[in-house]
Amino acid sequence: MFDQKAAVERWRARLAETGSLFEADLDELESHLHDHLESLEEVGITGGDAFQTATRRLGDTRSLADEFAKVNPLLAWRAALFWITAGVLLVFGLRPVQELSEHAVIASCMALRLGKTAVSIAVWALAFASPLVFFAVLFPLARRRIESPLPWARSPVFRVGLLVGCALLMLASHLLLDWGFLYAFEKRWSVPALLAAYDAVGNASYALAVAAPIFLVVVAVRQRALAMKNRAAAAPLFWLAVGIFVGAVRCELHLFVREAAMACASVAKLGPAQMNALMWIVTLGCPLVLFASTYGYLRHGAPGPSRVLRAPFVLVVMAASGAMAIAAVFLTNPIASSARIPSAVALAAWNAWFLAGIVTSCALPVIVGGLMLRTLRAGTLALRVD
């Protein structure tokens, strides 16, 4: 005996799995299926035959999902967005960890009274080894979750822990590094040796800032090629690489924008109050513009993620922004040293920079995390248009 109810449920579950349809879409298609089954029953066709005919007429799962993806762009982007935001959040969260561990390495070297060369080697090793270890752990972990990237991320403990953890880390890094509390603590060791160690940190971070975009573009190109070769429906590792890339490039461009704003202020001879306002606008405005434009693009007229993946322009955009970030690494310092601003204005700038930095430290994980959770939940949202 053919169990029609169970068959309809299975068919609906398969469609739901594609992630491109809202609950209301599924309701509507199911209602259509019942309409068709009823009319087939009237002419004496029932059971498995009727079900086969009706579902074939509705269209196969893949092409239905593709068509619905065009009208539900944000929903179709759910999985890709999850991995992109995960990548961005990882960079935001782990960069302070990297910075703080650099200081831990310096402190240990000082305590052990190691020579300059040993300190440099330790700092350089940490700078390059930690991202490589991170990739070696992260990618296999993510690959195992290809089929279902979401279950562990649904746990409330995980969500809250991730967001609060990121915010606290960034706050700690602002207070300890930018406000110099750590330096005040480290000063009890010999200052010249400390400055030499900081030099090594600075050089290593320049090298890393140049290497990271190139490395990440190569990773993305490779993941894209793999996804296209396997004809995979989703390419989580590609989008994860894109997210990490965005996070890394953002850090460089952010510093560049700050120094450029300072240079502009010096040319325009801004007063302290104006400088203060400019810094707030720059610090809060850049991420907001980035979010608004991404959201707008995805909401209106973006093709589905698999189409974007296949389009070569993604790689062109990545290469261009990577080149910009690398250029920024070399331009930031000359621009900074060219700025001639009175100390009162500089103080206003730094204060605004720190305070706005703390605001963004707290707000960014909330915004990025909120977006991530929204895209997660969208799959189960029952949007009814009653």
């Binding site: 209301a24 879409d25 309701d27 509507e28 298609l29 209602s31 259509h32 019942h34 309409d35 068709h36 009823e38 009319s39 074939r56 007429r57 509705l58 269209g59 092409s63 239905l64 068509e67 619905f68 065009k70 009208v71 009814r384 248009v385 009653d386």
Partner: protein
């Protein structure tokens, strides 16, 4: 892929190509809704009747079209219980939809008029 049965021997039973089906979908849906509220399954049945089975739609593809028209503000949808007690999503044409339909009708008439004049066997000005 089901094909229309060759009921009328003098007619070519070949289904109409995809491009034409897609191009005519919006004006057909709007015209059907202009005659009264309707729901997906009934709209598809009506299209089959009107085209004597030659306009073959994959049923599921109608819904993205309806949703796009709704997003454009040409139609609106509402859930309502059918005679059998099941909930169905009905669509109603809006004023903007009627205006869009008028425009599309003028365009299709222009295409039709041009083709009528151009078909071999007829001379220009002798329709």
């Amino acid at each position: 892929m089901s094909r229309a049965k060759n009921d009328a021997p003098e007619e070519n039973p070949r289904p109409i190509p995809k491009g034409l089906v897609a191009a005519s979908a919006t004006p057909l849906v709007l015209s059907i809704l202009a005659r009264g509220d309707s729901y997906g399954y009934a709209i598809i049945q009506r299209v089959r009747e009107l085209s004597a089975g030659r306009l073959e739609w994959t049923d599921g593809m109608l819904y993205p079209i309806l949703h796009r028209l709704e997003e454009q503000g040409l139609i609106r949808s509402f859930w309502q219980e059918s005679e059998t007690g099941r909930k169905r999503k009905y669509y109603r044409i809006l004023d903007d939809g009627r205006r869009a339909l008028d425009e599309q009708r003028a365009e299709w008439n222009a295409v039709h008029a041009a083709l009528s004049l151009a078909w071999p066997g007829r001379r220009a000005g002798n329709v």
